[in-house]
Structure formats: C-alpha cells, structure tokens
C-alpha cells in the first residue's frame, strides 16, 4: 500500500519538478547559445576577412592617416596587385544610436571586395555621381533606403552636414559578409577637405591592398613597411584578418568576461540538475531496493539514473537549441546597429549539445553511485 503511494506521489511531484528542471535547462542552454553568438558577432569582421587582402595603416595609430603619395610606391611593391584607398568617415545619421560604418573609398575599392555584389547599372550610376553612395542591403532594410534617396550625415571628424545620394544597394555573397555599411567617393571627400581651413588634404585613412599569392602575405607586408621605414609616416601592414582582430582585441576583457559568464550559467544549471537528481534518487530508495531484490544489478540502477538525467537534458537542451535562432533574431533587432552580423554558428549548436550532455552526466554521477549502492534490506525498510 505504502510503496504504491510513494511511487504515485513521486510521479506527481516528479511532473512539476521535471517541468521546472527542463525549463531551467532550456533557459541555460539558450543563454549559453546567445552569449556564444555575441562573442562570434564580435569576430564578424575577422570572419569576413579575406586572406588575399592586406591593410596598410599609419604605424602610430589609426588616428593618423597616410599621405596620398604613398599610393604609387605601395603599388610598386612586388606581389601587390591592387591598391585602394579607404578613409573612415565616422559620421552620425540622425542620432548616434543609428550608428553604422561609412567609408570614403577609391573607385577600385569594390574590385577588392567581390563578396559585395552590386548590379552593373547601379555601379556605373554610382561611378558617375560624385556625391553618390552605395549602401549595404542591411542598412537599406533597416532604414528603408532606396536608390535615389538622399542621406544626410552629420560629420564628426569632417565637420558639417554631408548629403549622399543612394545610387545602388550592395548585397552580401554570404551570411558572413558585412552589408551594414555605406561607401562613397574618396575624391569627393578630398575636394571638400581642400576647401576647409586648417585641414590637410590628400590624406588617406588606410590603404587596402590586393595580393596575388596569399601565402606571401607576411613577406609582402614587410616589404611594404620597409619602403616607408624612417619616413614621416611609418606604416604597419598586416593581413585584413589581423587588422580586424586588432579591433576585437581592444575589447578583450569584455569578451573574456562574456565567455566566462556563458559557462557560469552552465554551472548554475548543473547545480540545479544535481540537486534535482539527488532528490529524485533519495525518494526512489525503495524502488531501487525492490529492483535489486528482483535481481537487477547495480550497473542497471546507475544506468537508470543516467538515463533519467540525460533524458531531461536532451529535452531541455534540445528545446534551448531550437529556441536559440529565433531568440538571436529578436536580440539582433533589439540591439540595432551594434552587431552587423549576428548569426548562430554550427559550432555554437554543437557546443550547446555538448554542454547539455556534460550537465546530464555530471549531475547524475553521485546519485547514480548512491543508487547503485543501495542495500536491499535497508532500502526496503525505508517503507516504514
């Protein structure tokens, strides 16, 4: 009579506890997945980098520019196929929170970025309009920019209100291409700067170089820098990936903290699971003793425990993994321009599954050992 009562009561109690545990797991796995995706997003620039591109900048820091005269000398270095100019404009579109990247680039810039796809007609329209600009698909979608629209940008580094006419939309070749940017003519910027008092014209933010043989990147970089050693503006040339990683490194500590914290949530849920499993094991002493009396071995009992734990983890973890992509979309909408690329990677999904598995096993270890060790007589006596 009592045993039956115990089991049914366990099952009822169990329903609620099971539901809560699965919910906790779902939230933990979801949070872990989102945090991982945030860290990935930080590396978006580096992920989109091509190994056939180098970036040459002023060796002092990015806040210094390079003279226009360097362009031909860089072109002369062996292995360099193309040299494009790019100056960070850093303006504000209506409000600071609408932040997106704006670059003043030379006409051959797009040749270096085949992953940015622009219809031929739009490209030639852009070529012909001095004040024209090209906007990426993500920007066009977010702000509703269409070909022909005039975008007013308030300059910060280059003062005044600048107006650019949208001449085309850039689409990304794949998910990792950054289409949250606006490019316009470097010539237009330079002409305007010439007219400003006190500013120096013929300055370029960075040069982007195309190279024929990616394996020679290190050697070519050194050669470029050697040309300008001991001159007015020494250069630092590196692969585009190294350049992008430099930006990531600036927020190193934040990224490290996020990584740590993503595992903290897993530890939290492990504690919750271990607790739930321990409770479950304690209540099932009679069941286990009965099973043992019937002839089932300790290995079988341990397996039962692991089985229960892993089932919960598969349920909760699976649900968390399923909910991550939609949650990521919501997060991306909410944070607006902060992350130009926000995509749940396959690696993240695998890690989520791994975490769920580890939690499932770890939480069940001690209860499984206890279950296996139950002595029949004592266990059955627990009925009272």
């Amino acid at each position: 009579m009592h045993a039956l009562k115990l089991i049914t009561r366990n099952a009822l109690r169990h329903k609620l506890r099971t539901a809560l545990t699965v919910l906790g797991l779902t939230i933990a796995v979801l949070a872990y997945g989102l945090l991982n995706t945030v860290v990935d997003a930080w590396y978006a620039g580096a992920a989109a980098a091509s190994n056939a591109r180098l970036v040459t900048r002023n060796a002092i820091s990015l806040s210094f520019s390079l003279p226009l005269s360097y362009e031909n000398r860089i072109r002369g270095v062996e292995g360099v196929t193309l040299v494009a100019r790019s100056s960070w404009f850093g303006g504000v579109y209506r409000e600071p929170k609408n932040f997106f990247a704006q670059f003043a680039v030379s006409d051959n810039y797009l040749d270096l970025y085949p992953e940015l796809i622009v219809p031929a007609q739009q490209r030639s329209d852009y070529q012909r309009d001095r004040e024209g600009c090209l906007v990426g698909r993500q920007l066009a979608t977010q702000f509703g920019f269409k070909v022909g629209d005039v975008i007013p940008i308030k300059g910060t580094i280059y003062p005044g209100t600048w107006e650019f006419v949208v001449r085309g939309i850039m689409d990304g070749r794949d998910e990792s291409t950054i289409t949250r940017q606006l490019i316009f003519h470097w010539d237009y910027l330079n002409e305007s700067v010439r007219k400003m008092p006190g500013r120096r014209a013929d300055q370029v933010g960075v040069y982007v170089l195309g190279i024929a043989v990616p394996e020679e990147a290190a050697a070519i970089s050194r050669n470029v820098d050697d040309v300008f050693r001991n001159s007015l503006a020494e250069t630092l040339t590196e692969t585009e990936q190294a350049f992008q990683l430099g930006f990531v490194a600036m927020s190193n500590q934040i990224i490290a903290a996020i990584r740590v914290v993503s595992y903290v949530v897993i530890v939290i849920i492990m504690a919750v699971m271990a607790n739930a499993m321990a409770m479950s094991a304690r209540e099932r002493t009679v069941e286990y003793a009965t099973l043992k009396a019937l002839g089932f071995g300790p290995g079988f009992l341990a397996l039962l425990m692991f089985g229960e734990s892993l089932t919960l983890c598969i349920a909760g973890g699976g649900l968390g993994m399923l909910l991550t992509p939609p949650a990521a979309s919501v997060f991306r909408e909410a944070t607006g321009g902060v992350f130009p690329v926000f995509h749940v990677s396959r690696e993240t999904v695998l890690l989520q599954a791994a975490c769920a598995g580890v939690v499932g096993v770890a939480a069940a270890i001690i209860p499984a050992i206890q279950a296996a060790r139950v002595r029949i007589v004592e266990g059955l006596r627990a009925i009272g």
Partner: protein, 388 residues
C-alpha cells in the same frame, strides 16, 4: 512570527547538500549581478574624478572626442581671452591648449596592441588637474622629448616604466615619471609637452582647450558666447559632462549586457530555488499537518516557508557578495567605444551595491519559494497528517 526562526533555519541546515547547491546557484547569479554594478560604479567614479568642478573643455562643434576635434591657434587665442576665464597668481590665464592623439602600444601579458591617449599639455594644463600627482620620477621638462605616464599605463603597457623609451613619430621619447590621477581617466593617459608633440606629429592646430572659470556660474555665459562667436566653430562643455558623455555608450553597453545576463541567470537560479522549496515542503507534509493541528494558521505556515526561501536567498547573496568583494583587487581595462582609446577602471563595492544585491538575492528566494509556500499553506490538515 509564530513559527520559530530556529525551526526554519535548522531545516535548511539539515538538508545541507541541497541548501548548498541551491544557494550556490543563487550565489553565482549574485556574483554576476554585483560585479556589473561594481564595474559601473568604478566607471562612474573614474569619470566623476576626471572632471573638475569649474573646468570647461572646448572642442570643435560636431566633434564628439578630442581626437576628432581641431581648434586652430587663432580660435585658441580668442577663447583664452574670454573674461570668464580665471587668471592665475602669475597673471597668466588658467587655460591650456592641448593636443590629443592616439598611439598604438602593446599590452603587457597579451602583447596585443591597444590605442592609448597621448595628451600634449602646457604647464597651465597640469595646474588645471589638481587630482594628478606625481608618484615616481619627475615631470617632463618643457621643450624636451620627455613624457610622463599615468598609473594604469605603467601597469598595463610594456615599455612605460621611468627610464624606458617609447618610439613614435620618428622620435625617441623618454619616460621620466609616473603620475597618479586618483583613479580618474587621466590614469590611462600619457602626457608630454604640447608643442613638442605637435611638432612631432606635424600638427598645426590644437585638439582642444581646457579652461578654468573664475566663477562657476559664468559657465552659461561662456558657453553661449563661444557658441555664437563667428570666429569660432567650437562648443564648450563642463569637463565633467564632457567625460561623462564620452563613456555613455560603454556604460550603457555594460549595464544592458550585465542586467540582461543577471535577469536570465536569475530565472535559472529561481527555478532551482523553486525545486528545492517544493521538495522541502514535500518532505515535511506531516510536519505541516501537525503544525496546523496544533493551531498554527495557514498564514503562519505560508510565512514560515517564505522565510525559509528568503534565508536561502540571503545565504546565496552573502556568498556571492563575498566572492564579488575580491574583484575589488582587480582592474578592468577596455577600449572605450566612443574615444577609441584604452580606459582602465576598477570594481568598487559601495554600501548601496551591498544593499541592492542582498535585496535582489532575497527577492530571488522569495519568488522561487512563493508557489511552494502557497502549496504548504493550502494543505488539507487530515491529508497532510496521513503522510509519513
């Protein structure tokens, strides 16, 4: 409280493992929560101490940071002669024309480069920042290629000890001293002679001007005069406001990230608390029935379990805070999104943070324990007594 506290507390102690695991989960959430608050407090303190009450920063209109800004010599002279600017004991104006650029230095440890602010100051400029004190070595000699570094720079970047040299702009610069800026943003800067730096970087314009107002209430007049003056294209901000604005993005980001994480984690921890409290109730059904039979009311039972849950939260909160307190020995440095420069700040534990954190922790316990406590209070006496 009718049901004795000793009964409630001892029940937590009896089921030590469960209490520890649950409190542990809560402690971790508390740790994240309080660390974020401490980081924000540290950031605010760094900013507040970076600004002097009556100092005003003048930069070009539209520029958000000194690095983006340019104030040419003529404009600088006009600003300096404004009547609101205080005059020092030596008869000279308390105004400093400064040049601010970023250089790339390698961090100690990771070896990765970060941008560091180099500020070319005048003698007046040093006087305008009373919180800055020399902590080792000496000040740079005007007209020389000598520099002094802030304490965070000395700690965090390679080659910045007194006696060492940094090479940039085709010159060797000798570090002759370290200064302590009282935990303000200046600790993350390198200072040198303004004219020397401008020569080396081939700049003809200054980046900004910092002036001290003779009287604080003159600010509004100073600001509007600068704003409308046709010779100038500049704007004036109180130094405190200026630095506070510069870190808004970073502060907001850290806060949003931190609190979102705490909120999500707290759900997981509260679920843990709920599971524990349901089990606590389930294990003591007969006791609850007995208490009701003896004459304790439903409200008494509800209160007792709520208190148990809150105690659980309190234990977790104290544990988490205890660990977070150790963060005060660490310092945090990251690139400020807006200025693009490295900024170092600490974790600061204030009484307000202790209060908020414990309240958060106890609330987590309360929310997690509410439904189980309700169940306990609603039990039918006879059925409860039948349980063993």
């Amino acid at each position: 409280m009718a049901i004795p506290l000793s009964y409630i507390a001892r029940n937590l102690w009896t089921r030590r493992l469960t209490t520890a695991l649950t409190a542990g989960g809560l402690a971790l959430v508390v740790f994240v929560f309080s660390t974020v608050l401490m980081l924000d407090a540290g950031l605010k303190k760094t900013l507040v101490s970076t600004g002097e009450e009556n100092n005003v920063v003048v930069i070009r209109k539209g520029a958000e940071t000194e690095v983006q800004s340019a104030v040419d010599r003529n404009q600088a002279n006009v600003i300096e002669m404004h009547p609101a600017v205080a005059v020092g004991g030596d008869g000279r104006r308390l105004a400093s024309k400064e040049s601010v650029v970023l250089i790339s230095l390698a961090k100690i440890g990771s070896g990765k480069p970060s941008n560091v602010v180099i500020r070319g100051v005048s003698q007046a400029g040093i006087g305008l920042r009373p919180q800055v004190r020399l902590s080792s070595g000496r000040l740079f000699t005007p007209g020389s290629s000598e520099i002094v570094v802030g304490s965070s720079i000395a700690k965090g970047f390679a080659g910045t000890q007194p006696g060492e040299h940094l090479r940039f702009a085709q010159r060797e610069w000798t570090v002759v001293g370290t200064f302590d800026a009282g935990g303000s943003g200046f600790d993350s800067e390198i200072w040198g002679d303004a004219d020397q730096l401008m020569q080396a970087f081939r700049r003809t314009s200054y980046s900004s001007m910092v002036v001290r107002l003779a009287q604080g209430d003159q600010f509004e007049r100073f600001r509007s005069d600068i704003d409308v003056d046709p010779r100038l294209a500049d704007e004036a901000k109180r130094e405190r406001t200026f630095y506070s604005d510069q870190s808004k993005a970073l502060s907001t980001f850290l806060n949003i990230l931190g609190f979102t994480l705490s909120a999500i984690f707290s759900i997981a921890a509260m679920i843990g608390a709920m599971i524990t409290m349901y089990a606590s109730v389930a294990n003591r059904v007969a006791e609850i029935g007995t208490l009701r039979a003896l004459g304790f009311k439903r409200a008494n039972v509800l209160a007792a379990f709520l208190v148990e849950a809150m105690l659980l939260g309190l234990v977790g909160g104290l544990a988490g805070l205890g660990c977070a307190a150790f963060m005060q020995f660490a310092s945090f440095s990251t690139t400020n999104f807006q200025t693009f420069a490295d900024l170092s700040f600490r974790f600061i534990l204030t009484p307000a943070i202790v209060g908020k954190t414990l309240a958060f922790s106890v609330t987590m316990g309360l929310v997690g324990g509410f439904l189980p406590a309700l169940r306990a209070s609603r039990m039918n006496i006879v059925e409860a007594l039948r349980a063993r």
